[in-house]
Amino acid sequence: MIGTVYTETVVHLAPEAFAKDVPYQVVIVALEDGSRVTGRMAGDRVTIGDLVERVAVRDGVPFFLKASSRWTNVLFT
């Protein structure tokens, strides 16, 4: 599943459940079907407009990775 970053933030102050992950990036991603979902970034930081790929769903939470240039090429060339 591919989408674009609609907005993002890097969280520095978190509840105990997420304290071990700090700092982590939360994103709202606009998916191909037009819907939006809140998820977490794994790996590189992203900014608004970046293409991301859903790489895992853990306990209902989608995790995204910055889409590789392979995908960028497929979509925009």
């Binding site: 933030t9 969280v11 102050l13």
Partner: protein, 386 residues
């Protein structure tokens, strides 16, 4: 619907009070209010309490009769209203509706929250309960992070900057320094605001409101009976509450809050005034970006220009539209359930010329905007001395 007036107001200093329990806060504000309105507990016909998370913060539930009976109010309906950070505003709206409809003649509204008994990480967790726990919160969002994402998008679409956000914090801290009831009476510089430690990027510590204990109360009465109780009744010209999605990712556009626009539109219509007529306002600056978006949603300035307008000084006490002269949630403090009622008390103090060093000259028509969650609830109230 009959005209409604506010005949009494009572609030306490906001702060961190380790030795005080939730009930004693509500009782302090309630007693001050009854005294101010020259009303005895036996004359109160209904009690509306705004409280967001008393049970989570303190373990105590069933809060409305818990507080009303301690005030000496017996037998009458006593109900808690919960609408996240708009809980106080919602209690006020429902009390207004009950008096305007003719159901009751004398309604006491209080707002209260006791937050500082929990460590910050736990407070963050409790506040997150105002978001969508099955979605955004599970993914690691906190309230600062939801507003940080709003800020990022506002910056992306309109060119809003970190300096614009900091200008809100610097102004509200300067205002709050003059407020004897403020939690943090401390002037800050632009550099301090910009260099504060990050909470959720781009928001830093000074972009966030405070974790506070506190309470506030007001007393409502039909306008034609108000002068029997006070020489300084304040007219409640318009009040409206509106709602929207709880989850931020369900909103089509996160740089504006439809619930604020809707509540404002209805309150303006009821009052027969427009945004230009409003002389001063208390808006819900839970985070600096929230004040910028509020300026736009309330129609004080065009969309996208709230940050620039703030930086130019138009929202300072000396500007054309003084905003959060009390210091706002930012400096005055944000005991969640108390906030919406405290905003009304701040309007009343201005309109009655009782605001001390904060007193404005153009004080005849004021607006309060109380926001819940990331925009899922909003109450807008317009008060005046006409």
């Amino acid at each position: 619907m009959r005209p409604v007036a506010l005949i009494g107001a009572g609030k306490m200093r906001f702060g961190a009070f380790p030795d005080r329990d939730l009930r004693s806060l509500g009782v302090e504000a309630g007693e001050k209010c009854l005294k101010n309105g020259h009303v005895s507990p036996s004359q109160v016909e209904a009690f509306c309490l705004g409280n967001f998370a008393g049970p989570s913060f303190t373990g105590q539930n069933h809060l409305a009769p818990y507080i009303s009976t301690a005030l000496g109010i017996r037998d009458v309906p006593a109900t808690r209203f919960e609408a996240a950070c708009a809980s106080g505003g919602s209690a006020f709206f429902h009390a207004f509706s009950a008096v305007a409809s003719g159901l009751y003649d004398c309604v006491l509204v209080a707002g209260v929250e006791k937050m500082t008994s929990q460590p910050t990480a736990r407070v963050t967790e409790i506040l997150a309960g105002a978001g969508d726990c099955a979605g955004e919160i599970k993914a690691g969002s906190t309230f600062p992070s939801l507003f940080a994402m709003i800020a990022r998008r506002h910056m992306h679409e309109f060119g809003t900057t970190r300096e614009h956000l900091a200008a809100v914090a610097v102004k509200n801290h300067a205002n709050g320094a003059l407020n004897p009831d403020a939690h943090m009476r401390k002037v800050i510089t632009m550099e301090q605001a910009l260099n504060a430690r990050p909470v959720a990027e781009p928001l830093g510590l000074y972009d966030c409101s405070l974790i506070s204990d506190g309470a506030a109360a007001v007393l409502l009465m039909p306008a034609d009976r108000a002068r029997d109780f006070t020489d300084k009744p304040v007219r409640i010209l318009g009040v409206a509450q509106a709602s929207d999605f709880v989850a931020l990712d369900q909103k089509p556009d996160i740089t504006t809050f439809p619930a604020v626009r809707r509540a404002a539109q209805k309150a303006y219509e009821m009052a027969g005034v427009g945004p230009r007529d409003i002389q001063f306002a208390e808006v819900h600056d839970c985070f600096t970006i929230a004040e910028i978006v509020a300026l736009e949603d309330l129609g004080f300035i065009e969309r996208g220009l709230g940050g620039v307008w703030t930086q130019l000084g138009h929202t300072k006490p000396t500007g054309e539209k003084p905003i959060n002269v009390s210091g706002g949630l930012k400096s005055k403090g944000h005991p969640v359930g108390a906030t919406g009622v405290a905003q009304i008390c701040d309007l009343v103090a201005q309109i009655r010329c009782e605001a001390g060093e904060m007193q404005l000259k153009r004080n005849a028509l004021g607006l309060a905007q109380n926001l819940g969650g990331s925009g899922a609830s909003c109450v807008v109230s317009i008060l005046g001395n006409v």
